[in-house]
Amino acid sequence: MSVRPYTPKLDPHPLGPKEVTWWGMLLLITIEIVIFSGLIASYFYLKLYNPEWPPAGIDKKQVLLPTINTMILILSSVSIYFADKGIKAGKQTQLKVGQALAMLFGLVFLTLKVVEYSGYDYNWATHAYGSITWTMTGFHSAHVISVFLKGMVVLAMALRGMFTPERHVAVEINGLYWHFVVVIWLPLYFTMYISPWL
């Protein structure tokens, strides 16, 4: 070979699939998907072997409030996308605003969940239906709380101007997990609120 081939430039701060944490997060998401799938499968398994589901005396869940709430959660995901786009283009303000908005939407979602669940006259210890629905909601809400707390750290770092278009792996990884927490809510929403009406 007469032409000497090129020498790759090793990237010290890679992003996306070139970055090890990105893969780590993807695998964490896989683990979580298995857990959520187990919960959803358990819901339908219990439904299959219960003559009445939801049990007698419980109305099918109303869908209006949860549907609005789901929209709010999706808006938080959009905000995160907006923040990520911002830092990729070097727009610090867009990053801060997007991140703060996402956290605000997350907080509204949690508040409305509390409002919704305080209206139910059964809890996890009433019957198996209560157990599985409270567990699904509680487990997911714990995830929303955790992305909110993680978001606080990312916001604090953003306010200190610690991210640049080249170096913002924390924004990217946190965003990836945030989108997961939003997307995994959709099958849960379908299971608990829509499937009883079908």
């Binding site: 070979m1 000497r4 081939p5 090129y6 020498t7 790759p8 430039k9 090793l10 990237d11 010290p12 890679p14 699939p17 070139k18 970055e19 090890v20 944490t21 893969w23 780590g24 695998l27 964490l28 896989t30 683990i31 979580e32 298995v34 857990i35 187990g38 919960l39 358990s42 398994y45 219990l46 072997y49 219960n50 049990p55 996890w124 210890a125 009433t126 019957h127 198996a128 239906y129 209560g130 157990s131 599985i132 409270w134 567990t135 707390l149 750290v153 770092m157 610690m162 170096r167 924390a170």
Partner: protein, 653 residues
Amino acid sequence: VSDQPSNRQLPEEILPSHVGYTPDEELLNQAWAPPKGLIPYIFTPVNHRIVGLRFIVTAFIFFVLGGILAVIMRTQLAAPELDVVSAELFQQLFSVHGATMMFFFAVPMFEGLGIYLVPLMIGARDMAMPRLGAYGYWTYVIAGVTLYVGLLIGHGADAGWFAHAPLSSSLEFTPKMGMDFWVTAIGLLEISALVAAVELVVTIFKMRAPGMSLSRMPIFVWAILIMSFMIIFAMPAVLLATITIGLDRLVGTHFFNVALGGDSVLYKHIFWFFGHPEVYIIFTPALGVVAAVLVTFVRRPLVAYSLVALSLVAMGILSFGVWVHHFFAVGIPPIGLSFFAAASMMVSIPSGIQIFAFIATVWQGKLVLKSPFVFLIGFVFTFVLGGVTGVMLAVVPFNWQVHDSYFVVAHLHYVLIGGAVFPMFAGLIYWFPKFTGRMLDERLNLWAFWLLLIGFHVAFFIQHLLGFMGMSRRVYTYSADLGWGSYNLVSTVGAYLIALGVLVFIANVVKSFVQGEKAPDDPWGGPSLEWSIASPPPQYNFLYLPVVSGRHPLWDGIEPDGEGDTAADRGIRARPQVRDDVRESFGTSLMDAEPESRVNLVAPTYWPFLAAVATGVIFVGAMFTLWAVPVGALLFYFTLIGWHWPFSKELAS
């Protein structure tokens, strides 16, 4: 390849690929220095060799503990109506024995081997996320201590290692705290296993030496990769199982309370969806060890490398379709029975491919009969017998007949000890020189082997017959007129022989560690990269970051010179960019291992230990008060902030 072990000292030779690249050994030594001082040395190491060895040693301690419990049980069963232990204690003994061997010995042992060996085999300086390994280790220790504290204070797990509901989930049936300890210990252990699996997958995906495409990875690395994926897909199910049992016990949910709409078979599905893959989570890396040892001692590349790699993948996938065969007797629709019986039999196809590939490799090779290989013979002999009884158990009517009898006990010990413990010993002997820089005493190895092999078959073969005679598993004693006495005595004698074999092995390890023969870099003439460096390896593993252009880098004799147009050549040219003054290694692409980045690897830190303690507060505390959950979670949150905060000045500026 020569017939005899080569004893070569590779780093001293200047290979063509080393030309024009002079890493600064002193800087590397500084960057990779282990923590100084006793307290930092205990709590802060994150390096894969330290963490990996800790996993291996701790897992072996649990192997011994589980073995002691087994010996106590066999002593109780040696003759009819003995009173060595009470019925209640016996119940705790077999539950904790099973949980120990399945969760606290087998899985962490092979994860430890993976954590130690994978970076050495793929030519990396550390694991991709070193702190995660340390965190996994500490959660593992907290989990194991919890399980045994429960047993010692009289609240050992007492519903079997699989803890079937509602026995395990209702305070009415298991009023003592044993199952709370089980839930806590297993929950923590799952976290440990999951983070180690994530770390292993990412390392194998992203940190292989330039040129080591997927199809050039050693089979051992393939096996660890598949084990890790199986952990990622199976272990969350048991996490769910422990969470639901814990909720039923601690906050009064009704997942498994039939009176209020719960369902106990649901638990069986959740648990065994994990439980059967678990067997393959243990067996797959054992096969990886078999392949590594085999290839070295027959001095020939593995026959049908691609088929073996693919059959490992196939076995991993199929193992997720067989879980119901663990409870055929519970009342499953016929179509379900047929499906799961067929899937169970199908697993024998990939297993067959592997065994025949191994046999063909031996057939064509030149055998060097050293003790690691002798253990492989023990593996094949024992495991094939276990496989045969496995096919018998896949036949539904036969399964019903021997269900919950000693036949099943015999079968599972043939599969697990044959399939995992013999290969484990082979691997430990094979890599002991790399771990410690000393050789094990060959004569004592053979003593240990014969004691283990004979003891094993004496102890367990006869249990098949006991099963046919109707002896049920988990009984703490039996009446003399059943005529099982002499059979059980034979089995107990076998158990003592096994214990003696393990003692001989431990004595050998201690003796060799102190005064064993010094090991050369490559005592066996192995083909993979871990043998190209000193025994034990230097702190930074590889002075010259290796590149790879074949499946057997130390045998192929192909040395890229850095002028060509392959990933390995590009690796040679990019290599000087990897820094010597901080902990760094190559980041390469997933399929072809094209060099693309520098992976920053962290230095020793306390955060993983603190995070593990916070995790422990959540799980252990929840047994006593639910307030432990938010408090522990908050502590965990703060430790994670400390873990991730970019303290380096470089970023802050």
